[in-house]
């Protein structure tokens, strides 16, 4: 009975969020969403999801807090170093042949992956001719991403990852540390546009040579995953590249047939011939 009610309340809450705020979580993967939401009412001083729904409808500030709970969590810089190594070795040589580059980091959260790519591109001397679109649905995450400031206690892990990824310089060349925070070089931001974009409801906004969207698709159900993969295909130029999370797959998505796998273990795909 209680479990059945939870499922009903959860659906109604997602409908309410969509109708009121136009954020569409209705096609997110149910298990993770349910896990995140099950404990949410208590954090908002509510007993049930129905009470939380009421609060969210009448208090936009409560919705902003809930949005952070619902969106994809913090990543780390150069997470999965071998992915970045493969980009460096297999993708960069081809990107080098373009006179100017556009790259889309979809679901950038608080920006760790964006700066990782920017650093990689600077080391490969490509950043000067590159524009990175970094998009997310959560305005608070985007603000943090644009600030490019991370707690110093995370830097040791980032540095180790960067080294394993084949980094050509020391990570410390790219930030200044003060008051327990590492501030990444402002010059990166000339090449990054942070912008609000939803893979669930928005469409393609530019033609790009590389899309990096890692550990975002795991939070979508099959239909939404396919929608996102369709957007990536449409945004990519001919023979453009798509990088996804190490345990993600395109084989369960019909639009995935538009891609061929370039680096198998590291989940880097290339847009193939149009079907």
């Amino acid at each position: 009975m209680a479990a059945e009610n939870t499922d009903i309340e959860l659906r109604l809450l997602l409908d309410a969020i969509y109708l009121k705020y136009h954020y569409d979580f209705r096609e997110y993967a149910a298990a993770s969403l349910k896990r995140r939401l099950t404990n949410a009412p208590g954090r908002f001083g509510c007993e049930t999801l129905s009470q939380l729904q009421h609060k969210v409808l009448y208090e936009p500030a409560a919705f902003a807090a809930l949005l952070s709970l619902l969106t994809v969590p913090v990543s780390e810089m150069f997470r999965d170093p071998s992915y970045f190594r493969s980009l460096r070795e297999k993708v960069i040589p081809i990107l080098r042949t373009y006179p100017s580059l556009k790259i889309w980091v979809a679901g950038c959260s608080t920006g760790e992956e964006v700066y990782s790519l920017a650093i990689l591109l600077r080391e490969e001397e490509l950043l000067e001719r590159t524009l990175i679109y970094a998009t997310d649905i959560n305005p608070q995450s985007l603000q943090k991403a644009a600030a490019g400031v991370y707690a110093v206690d995370r830097i040791a892990g980032f540095t180790e990852n960067h080294r394993k990824s084949g980094g050509r310089a020391s990570l410390s060349d790219y930030y200044t540390a003060a008051y327990g925070r590492a501030v990444f070089d402002k010059s990166f931001k000339r090449h990054i546009v942070f912008s609000d974009h939803s893979l669930a409801t928005d469409s393609v906004f530019a033609e790009v040579q590389l899309v990096s969207c890692r550990n975002v698709l795991i939070y979508f159900n099959g239909d939404l995953q396919n929608r996102a993969v369709g957007l990536f295909r449409d945004a990519l130029c001919r023979k453009g590249f798509l990088g996804i999370g190490m345990k993600e797959s395109l084989k369960f998505s019909p639009h995935g047939q538009s891609f061929v796998e370039l680096v198998q273990g590291d989940r880097i795909f290339q847009k193939g011939n149009e079907p």
């Binding site: 993967a29 149910a30 994809v72 969590p73 795991i218 099959g222 995953q225 345990k247 369960f252």
Partner: protein
């Protein structure tokens, strides 16, 4: 505590959680399942997060069932053992299909046993069996309680027989498990569960 023969009903899936000493314990349990069994098994074993896991490669040659590392959106097949990949939570979604997440660590662990058990209980309810093995962590205790609450069968390795008893002890503090058994007895129970399942299938076929 119930007797192995008294297993109440049809079981479709088994979720297993283990930590320190888990590889050895699983080496006793998983090979006990005979080929032809239609059970699906999901395993969370705590491992270092930064290294790729070789669990599927280690266990495949020892098991009669198929052994896979879980991938996101993979459809759950009968007669298959799925290992959670390192640094991802493994969850069950409607279908049933596998789901992964990089949500925060639970009990300092990703994958977490609680996350697996709670989501599997949601999908399989009374057709799920949950097993807690050796380990030095509280992970899995809350999840096993959920499996119990949704009508599933709960098994805890007898703490004295576990390489590290802490995980079994904390599971038992939260749930009066249906079975508390040494490893060999759990293996025997899995074997008889699978044999009963095969026999039922046989009877059905002959009945036609």
């Amino acid at each position: 505590m119930r007797d192995a023969a008294a297993l109440p009903r049809q079981i479709d899936a088994i979720a297993i959680g283990a930590s320190a000493g888990g590889v050895e314990a699983l080496s006793v349990l998983l090979p006990a399942l005979p080929s032809g069994s239609q059970l699906s098994l999901f395993v969370v074993l705590h491992l270092p997060r930064e290294r790729p896991s070789l669990l599927a490669e280690i266990f495949a040659p020892k098991c009669a069932l198929k052994v896979r590392e879980a991938e996101d959106k993979m459809h759950v097949e009968p007669g298959t053992v799925y290992f959670a990949p390192p640094d991802y939570h493994l969850l069950l979604d409607a279908g049933p299909q596998l789901a992964l997440s990089i949500d925060e660590l639970v009990h300092f662990s990703r994958p977490s046993i609680d996350v697996l058990f709670e989501s599997a209980a949601d999908i399989y309810a009374e057709r799920l069996m949950g097993i807690i093995l050796t380990g030095a962590n509280d992970d899995g205790a809350a999840g096993l309680a959920t499996i119990h609450r949704t009508g599933g069968v709960t098994i805890v390795q007898e703490p004295d027989s576990a390489q590290v008893p802490l995980m079994a002890l904390s599971a038992l503090r939260q749930t009066a498990a249906d079975f508390v058994l040494p490893l060999e007895k759990i293996a025997g129970l899995l074997h008889s569960l699978a044999s009963r399942e095969l026999k039922t299938k046989d009877t059905l076929r002959k009945g036609k």
